[in-house]
Amino acid sequence: MQPAPDPFAQADTHDLVIRAEPTSVRAALLRVTAVAPVADLSADLRATVELVLAEVLNNVAEHAYADNPGHVAVTVALQPGALWCEVVDEGGAMPGGALPDGRLPEMGASDVDLPEGGFGWHLIRLMTRDLQYRRQRGANRLNFIIPLQD
């Protein structure tokens, strides 16, 4: 009997596993944006995909694996009108078991109060749809889509 076809085993899917640390994240971003399906998108959409994945993967490196370094798996798949993305790691769970709300940090009254961080989830939420986070069997699984209308 033929096995069921793997819906993602096609040319319009790309996946890779990397060490969750900044230099590997950079290499992964350059790779993902240089091959199909992301390479075939417009420059503006490629930039969006790169920025979203950068924020997600750097969060995994910085927070989920804050104590113990580990690996993270990224899958991108082209769907009609959207890029489907999944990021899976085996680091620590999201605090409270939920994603940060992504509110823009307070600007503060003067320069000394300006925020130097806290922008990541704001950017992710602005540029993605259908964000879903699940903690399953010791793994964090994040799914989202990036709409492909410029």
Partner: protein, 113 residues
């Protein structure tokens, strides 16, 4: 992290020679900027014309440099590429920096000529 500086009487220009300021280089960028601006009191124009990619770590580093320089030594930006401009706009950080289209425009503004 390669930065190219040019010192004028009233303005110090710093051109980022890399195509990215990201989580892998943000700390290095901040440290290099601290070294470069240790002396002098001119305005600082950071030219980002070669930077094709900036993530939130890179953005945080630029904000940190602005804070480090303090209110008497403004940090201005020039030459934002499309992706970099987008990050500033989406985080509303475009509202706290003076942003010039090119480094030449920035310099003529800064010297008042």
């Amino acid at each position: 992290m390669q930065l190219k500086t040019q010192t004028r009487p009233k303005v110090l220009t710093v051109q980022v020679m890399e195509d990215r300021i990201d989580a892998a280089t943000a700390i290095q960028f901040k440290e290099r900027m601290r070294d470069i601006t240790k002396t002098g009191d001119q305005r600082v124009v950071l030219d980002l014309a070669r930077v094709q990619f900036l993530d939130s770590s890179g953005l945080g580093a630029i904000v940190a440099v602005k804070k480090m320089l303090g209110p008497d030594r403004p940090l201005e930006l020039s030459g934002l590429t499309a992706t970099v401009e987008k990050v500033f706009r989406l985080t509303r950080m475009d509202s706290i920096f003076t942003i010039h289209p090119t480094v030449d425009v920035a310099v003529s503004h800064a010297t008042g000529t």
